[in-house]
Amino acid sequence: MFTETEHGKTNRRRELLARWALGFIVATMILPLVLIVGYLVVRAWPLLSWDFLFTNPTHGMRQGGIWSALLGTLYLVTLALAIAAPVGVLAAVYLNEYARENWLTRVINLAVVNLAGVPSIVHALFGLGAFVLFANMGRSILAASLTLAIMTLPVIIASTKEALSAVPQSFREACWNVGATRWQAIRGIVLPNSISGILTGVILQVSRTAGETAPIMFTGAVFYKKIAEGDPFAYSIWDQCMALSMHLFTITTQVTDAPEALPFATAVVLLGTVLLVNTTSIIFRTVLRSHKRW
């Protein structure tokens, strides 16, 4: 009874092989990440302090902190997502819940998918033409945020649609059968049960928005700008601003004889900002997901 057959042995070997091979691949993914972050933090260590965060760059950006860039990035990311998230989510709700399956819908879906693949520099040129010049906003936080929003919209639409279609169709039918309108079904059942997936899509765009340099370079980000230190409302949306990604680019390529730790410290702050925003959203999402109900 229960003696191991040849076939059983093979299966067991394969199972072991699969487990170790897949585990190894995960390790090779995580290790570089840990190394990079570790290396950045070690190199940046001499400069990292609260003062670094809350003072403006000085001496041709060779000394001082990164306050104006940090605040600029926060403004850009917040404003861009405040525009893109509601528009993108509502558009996805329309496409997934209301739009009938016809050629127009297919064209729109195709356009969304293709837009998601457009390089950011193209978005930058579009933003320059549409917002800075045509809409006469000038180079400003608003124009740059709108450009970033346009860039993230297709991705948010695509991920939101994915989250919405993961809600079983039978839930919608059950709602319609008791005389609920489409909107009542969406509001009562579909959205509450897809919100965590929708947020995931939006969260992923935070890091992308914070990291992109090209779209803001033409539309609102500047080389250097001095603002009131420690004042979170130092920028208006019509101002130009500094941004962490662009600042990093500048001090590594344009500024000679900057202290070695400066670019590393800037990178750590950029990374830290993204991580902070992501962690907050992930905690928020976990709380929401614990209410997931089927």
Partner: protein, 257 residues
């Protein structure tokens, strides 16, 4: 068949034809359902039974490729001319084959439809929820945990929950689509008991795969075969040794094919 529908008919269907794209699933179906009867619909899979129910509350139009011709009258009114389709769907309750507990609490599951219809008063909702759950023979099992998730109930309980939900919008016609497909025989019997009680208040259209269930519960039975009415009539005739159509005899007695 009479040309005009008498007003004492709950449901009246004439020449109903439905296509899903190129597939014709119902071909010229006509029948009447009397008020307060249990009207059973039997027939093999793919014969169009569920489609027939979808025509009664106009959920058919939510299926993109579906087209229908013919008339469906509910309580003397052509459903096509109904302006407020949501009001129609509240008149015609629908219970799906697989129980769908909405991902809400038991209470909210039942209160969903009344709320959607605009009922907000807490005490009225409380009373309605209790009444519907009692009618569906579920109240005693769940009265102490109304605010736990409906999706956590067992299959049989969820099916009774969907019946309670269908009752919550006070339908005058209750359609059940193979309600016993996912539940055990004991629960099935309990629900059948519930249906016998409910018929005093409403008309029941019962689509079922179980021939014996139709025989037990029905007053009239419609045998749908290949999208056509093979036979419709009183149970005494349909389930007798000499139904009008010999196919009916074969199907009812399990010597089909």
């Amino acid at each position: 068949m009479p040309e005009t529908t008498p007003s004492n008919v709950a449901v009246s269907v004439r020449d109903l034809t439905v296509c899903y794209g190129p597939n014709q699933v119902l071909r010229g179906v006509s029948f009447d359902v009397e008020p307060h009867e249990i009207f059973a619909v039997i027939g093999p899979a793919q014969s169009g039974k569920s489609t027939l129910l979808k025509c009664l509350n106009r959920t058919l139009e939510l299926i993109p490729a579906a087209r229908s011709t013919g008339t469906v009258m509910v309580e003397g009114k052509d459903v096509r001319s109904v302006k407020d389709v949501h009001a129609l769907r509240r008149r015609v309750g629908m219970v799906a084959p697989l129980p769908v507990g909405l991902p809400l609490s038991i209470y909210d599951n039942v209160a969903f439809a009344p709320r959607a219809a605009g009922l907000r008063k807490r005490d009225e909702l409380d009373e309605l929820v209790e009444r519907c759950l009692s009618q569906a023979a579920l109240w005693d099992e769940v009265k102490d945990r109304l605010h736990t998730l409906g999706t956590k109930l067992s299959g049989g309980q969820q099916q009774r929950l969907t019946i309670a939900r269908a009752l919550s919008h006070r339908p005058s016609i209750l359609c059940l689509d193979e309600f016993s497909i996912a539940i055990d025989p004991v629960t099935t019997m309990r629900i059948e008991e519930v249906l016998r009680e409910l018929r005093r208040e409403m008309t029941i259209v019962l689509v079922t795969n179980l021939v014996q269930q139709a025989r037990r519960l029905g007053d009239h039975t419609l045998f749908l075969y290949n999208g056509e009415v093979a036979e419709v009539g009183k149970n005494e005739v349909v389930f007798s040794d000499r139904p009008l159509n010999s196919k009916t005899y074969d199907y009812v007695n399990g010597i089909f094919g």
